[in-house]
């Protein structure tokens, strides 16, 4: 089990962004669905050890992220793509990926090869030496994915990774996801339902900080039988579950 969280809550003042979420998952691609404001980003931030839960217990990669040394070990094996990734405009693609590879404490000897592999995998080889300020939004997103995968993480957390990618790139991305999910736990947070169906083995649906569904995409589709809202079966399942949760 790479992720074992129990009854995790995160409060910001009086708002409960995440309210008692429990989850256990191992290798594979895990989709996190939900409307904006459902708490997906906050949950991902906690999994990325960027913020700590207000209450509840977390075990990531079989370690306790509350302990300093263990947290460092988790972070060396972690890849994270935040929803809004800032970048240093004067860096080139290769420099940016290399910077974070170094900060992830990768052995320096492995870094050039790992950076090259990551850049090739996101198909940015032609732009490796271009400055970030010259890239389009979709390319910047791919740079973000590259830095997340550069250390071959065991736990990969991607928050809205397909934002700005055109349909062809999204197809390529889903193939990459499947490859990565063979050995690692990949958590993909998205509000685009179709991103999930193809690549994910497990899906969770969040609404108002709570987990309202956890199962396979097929099970989610089944929930949508007879439901009117939604163009595709998975979308119908999605809106059916949301409607039930809110009523």
């Amino acid at each position: 089990m790479n992720i074992e969280i129990a009854d995790v809550t995160r409060q910001f003042g009086r708002t409960r962004a995440v309210a008692g979420v429990s989850l256990r998952t191992g290798a594979g691609v895990f989709g996190l669905l939900g409307p904006n404001g459902a708490g997906k980003t906050t949950l991902l931030r906690m999994l990325a050890t960027v913020i700590t839960p207000t209450s509840g217990s977390m075990r990531l990669l079989d370690r306790d992220p509350g302990a300093y040394a263990a947290r460092r070990e988790i972070r060396r094996r972690l890849g994270y793509l935040p929803q809004s990734l800032g970048y240093y405009p004067g860096f080139t693609v290769a420099e940016f990926v290399e910077y974070f590879a170094l900060l992830k404490d990768m052995p320096p000897r492995q870094v050039p090869g790992a950076v090259a592999t990551a850049i090739e995998r996101v198909e940015l080889a032609g732009k490796a030496r271009a400055k970030l300020r010259t890239l389009s939004g979709g390319m910047l997103r791919r740079v973000g994915i590259a830095q997340a995968i550069v250390n071959e993480p065991e736990l990969l957390l991607l928050d809205e990774p397909t934002a700005g990618l055109d349909p062809e790139q999204r197809v390529a991305f889903r193939l990459l996801l499947r490859e990565l999910g063979a050995r690692a736990t990949v958590v993909v947070s998205t509000h685009l339902v179709e991103d999930i169906g193809v690549a994910c083995g497990e899906v969770a649906l969040m609404d108002a900080g709570k987990l309202v569904f956890h199962g396979t995409p097929q099970e989610l589709t089944a929930k949508g039988e007879g439901h009117a809202i939604g163009d595709a079966p998975l979308e119908r399942g999605y809106s059916a579950v949301l409607a039930a949760a809110r009523s």
Binding site: A125, G126, A128, R129
Partner: protein, 191 residues
């Protein structure tokens, strides 16, 4: 785009041109090297070769001999790699590296070669043929330099090198584990 154009782009710092050169030439270079070296060594030599291409593209004169130029770099890198292993390994490759021999049709790659005995067949250390072989193949010096160092004309250097190779070949063949490599390896040079 033709090879000369690609190499010119590489010299100007275009890494996509290097990639195109690699796609085009790495396969046949790998095949040639593989006839004499194990796969892991082929990978190392190819990597060093194309890094050398990246660094040295400015030194190429665009006269349509890109294949020969590349093979020359690959040979040198292989020699460098083998030199680190010791003189015995270089013996084998010196058979391959020459571009003057007529090839022997036998294709087999040796399983076990008594390399020390073969080297001993060249004569005592300091002897004329062994010295020429050491300077030319182990230390990878050009013929002109070897001529200067040994104080003989280049033509003599070449004929001594030829005799050295003959002796090596005979010694290796006599072992029963032939070091004869394909004629396509022997011919080195331009493709």
């Amino acid at each position: 785009m033709d090879d000369d154009g690609l190499i010119a782009l590489v010299a100007a710092g275009d890494d996509s041109a290097l990639r195109a050169l690699f796609s085009r030439h790495a396969p046949w270079l790998a095949a040639r090297l593989r006839a004499a070296l194990p796969a892991a060594d082929v990978e190392d030599v190819l990597q060093e070769t194309f890094i050398a291409v990246w660094r040295g593209a400015g030194g190429y004169r665009p006269d349509g001999t890109a294949g020969g130029w590349l093979w020359g770099i690959a040979r040198r890198q292989a020699a460098l790699l083998l030199r680190r292993r010791g003189p015995a390994a270089a013996v084998l490759f010196s058979q391959v590296a020459s571009d003057q021999d007529v090839g022997d049709p036998a294709d087999t790659v040796p399983d076990r070669v008594d390399l020390d005995r073969a080297v001993a067949a060249l004569g005592p250390p300091g002897g004329t043929e062994r010295e020429v072989w050491r300077l030319l193949y182990l230390e990878d010096r050009p013929v002109a330099e070897v001529a200067e160092m040994t104080g003989v004309p280049p033509g003599t250097v070449k004929s001594r090198a030829y005799r050295a190779r003959q002796r090596l070949r005979a010694a290796l063949r006599a072992d029963g584990s032939a070091a004869e490599l394909g004629s396509r390896m022997m011919r080195g040079g331009a493709r």
